[in-house]
């Protein structure tokens, strides 16, 4: 946060001095610096959060484990480096690489996906209260995942089956919410939220009903419903990482279009943006990113609401910095929320933590909106 505030102050200073021609260069430099700092913060979070757990492993031991792993890797190619590990170090290596690191990395990917999806949806709907959880995308994906459990289709048994089902579920939710909420060519806040809540309830209830009737893999599906990372594995990381990274890059592709669309769709059309195409593309990409996250970790709520909001306060509304910064902050945020869960040794679902911190934030946004409209 402190870095971002500094960025804002400095750019204001530069513009205010009348040296406005340095503005563009300064802006790009500050964006790069912000992203660099956030990337370093994320890497640090990965290392530190790996140290945290039921037993504490010091960061130096973690680095040592990385060194061992690197040596193992090189040994495969016949390069003997003469680093020998004792049994304790080997155990630690196992804990780090097979238990903790997949969970931390999965947390980072899921957090990034939810945050960038939220940021893009907020821009698209011109509405700071949009978020994959609030507007029903996550519940749609959950419905898809539930279906994939109870349909005995051997064809779809592969790693990506859940992903594909989650994706179609989320698209269905987007389609419903979009068409219910739309009045003319606009999507007002109140109808968007109501349509989102209705769709969320619908898919959540149907999912529960299906579970009640089939009762297969009850434990697994409950974990999805609550939203947690305790089933993390490298397999899950693999299943989620490709669609999420792809969506992140593709969403960035539309950053400038999103900027222009914040000032109105017709206005964006007049500065040369194919509004209808862009709108659909962003909806689909945001849905795919959120669905991929839901397929591996369940419906973790409010990350996509809080993170872009906090980031926007610091870096401003330009999506060229807002989207990547939100992804990086979202990744760090979920890593630490999950670290909190692991330290508590209660194994709470991380979705509970994000909801407990997210709901007051959501209410704050509603109250602020009420004040802006002159009711308080």
């Amino acid at each position: 946060m402190a870095i971002g505030v500094w960025v804002l102050e400095t750019s204001a200073h530069v513009v205010g001095e009348g040296v406005k021609h340095a503005y563009l260069l300064e802006r790009v430099r500050h964006w790069r610096l912000t992203l660099l700092v956030l990337t370093l913060a994320l890497l640090l979070s990965v290392v530190l959060a790996t140290a945290v757990g039921s037993t504490y492993i010091s960061p130096s031991a973690i680095l040592n484990a990385f060194k061992l792993a690197a040596c193992d890797f090189l040994n495969k190619f016949g390069l003997e480096l003469g680093v020998h590990a004792d049994a304790a170090a080997e155990t630690q290596k196992l804990i780090i690489f097979e238990i903790r690191l997949p969970r931390v990395v999965l947390g980072a990917i899921v957090g990034a996906a939810l945050a960038i999806s939220g940021a893009a949806l907020q821009g698209l709907f011109k509405n700071p209260m949009a978020d994959p959880y609030v507007i029903g995308i996550s519940s749609g994906a959950l419905f898809g995942v539930t279906l994939s459990f109870c349909l005995p289709l051997s064809l779809l048994a592969g790693t990506y089956a859940k992903q594909v089902f989650a994706f179609f579920g989320s698209l269905l939710a987007v389609f419903l919410v979009y068409n219910i909420a739309r009045t003319g060519s606009k999507i007002p806040v109140d109808t968007l939220l109501l349509a989102g809540i209705a769709t969320s309830f619908l898919f959540h209830s149907i999912s529960t009903l299906i579970l009640y009737l089939t009762l297969r893999d009850w434990h697994q599906i409950v974990s999805w419903m609550l939203g947690g990372l305790w089933l993390a594995s490298w397999g899950r990381v693999e299943a989620a990482v490709f669609p999420i990274v792809a969506c992140t890059f593709l969403l960035y592709f539309f950053a400038r279009d999103l900027n222009a669309m914040l000032l109105g769709e017709e206005s964006a059309l007049h500065v040369g943006i194919e509004v209808e195409i862009v709108k659909r593309a962003i909806l689909v990409l945001a849905a795919v990113a959120a669905a991929s996250a839901v397929a591996v970790s369940g419906t973790i709520g409010f990350v996509g609401l809080m993170v872009p909001h906090a980031v926007r306060l610091v870096v401003g509304p330009d999506h060229r910095i807002l989207l990547p910064a939100s992804a990086l902050v979202g990744a760090s945020f979920l890593i630490w929320a999950d670290a909190l869960v692991r330290v508590s040794s209660l194994e709470l679902p991380v979705g509970l933590i994000t909801a407990i911190s997210g709901v007051p934030f959501f209410i704050y946004l509603l109250l602020r909106r009420k004040r802006e409209m002159g009711y308080a």
Binding site: A12, V15, G16, K20, H21, Y23, L24, V28, K126, F253, R256, N259, A260, L262, L263, G264, E266, S267, L269, H270, V271, G272, I273, E274, G316, P317, D318
Partner: protein, 262 residues
């Protein structure tokens, strides 16, 4: 040159059909400033939307320099034609300069950042509309008139040959109304732009425009010089108001005085 040929537009189907435009044709040479007048609901905004391709007409064609508007891509069109909307939204905290730089969008490639040159163009446009001093202010903190000038600067930053303005002076005080009209007039002459202004300010528009077009119920009922369009009969027919037509003692422009209570 802008040519509008026999444009029709209606909403709805069957008996619910509401005709908005019924066979509108226009021809405007480069360098001309044209005022589009008419009562509320006469089809002014619809006509502007059809020219800017935001609406598709049910019949008829719009040509820009002999090329059909429907043949332009959205991006190509934005380099030729810019629109200043009636409402200028302010719900996100972009600075005035950032809004004007968005006007450079049709000239930039997908991943290209704005260059020095784009900034200079934006600065020039903002100085022209007297809002450069607002450059680093968030648009949420600007007054209606200030925002209007920022959006005119954004349209100019597109470097268009055609400029459409929908009630550009609606939120402005008298001084800025005159200033904006002066700027627009100068642009039309110097840069050989085709400028169309939809407006309710009959006297203001009459003083600056080369030609006027008077719309009523989706049809053009008069077009040409101010003296020919702003007659007692035409105003009575379009607005249902009695007026006295006078000549400005200094500029020689036509102006109208409504007769109240008759």
């Amino acid at each position: 040159m802008l040519r509008v040929v026999d444009v029709h537009f209606s909403y709805g189907y069957g008996r619910q059909t509401k005709k908005i435009l019924e066979g509108v044709s226009l021809r405007i040479e480069c360098g001309k400033l044209v005022g589009l007048l008419g009562p509320n609901g006469s089809g002014k905004t619809t006509l502007l939307k059809i020219i800017s391709k935001a609406l598709k007409p049910n019949g008829g064609v719009v040509f820009l320099d002999g090329k059909r508007v429907s043949e332009f891509s959205v991006r190509e069109l934005a380099r030729e034609l810019a629109v200043v909307p009636q409402e200028t939204p302010a719900n996100f905290e972009f600075t005035a300069l950032e809004v004007v730089l968005m006007g450079r969008n049709p000239h930039l490639r997908r991943f290209e950042f704005e260059k020095e040159e784009d900034l200079k163009i934006a600065e020039g446009c903002m100085q022209l509309t007297d809002c450069w001093h607002l450059a680093d202010r968030p648009i949420t903190t600007l007054s209606g008139g200030e925002r209007q000038r920022v959006f005119i600067a954004r349209a100019l930053a597109q470097q268009p040959k055609y400029l459409l303005l929908d009630e550009p002076t609606a939120n402005l005080d008298l001084r800025y109304q005159l200033e904006i009209m002066e700027i627009i007039k100068r642009l039309a002459v110097e840069k050989k732009l085709v400028v169309i202004i939809a407006s309710h300010e009959l006297n203001l528009v009459a003083g600056y425009c080369d030609e006027l077009v008077l719309l009523n119920d989706g049809k053009i009922i008069a077009a040409g010089a101010a003296k020919e369009v702003l007659t007692r009969g035409n105003i009575k027919r379009a607005f249902g108001v009695d007026v006295i037509v006078e000549t400005h003692p200094l500029t020689g422009a036509v102006y109208l005085l409504p007769i109240n209570g008759h």
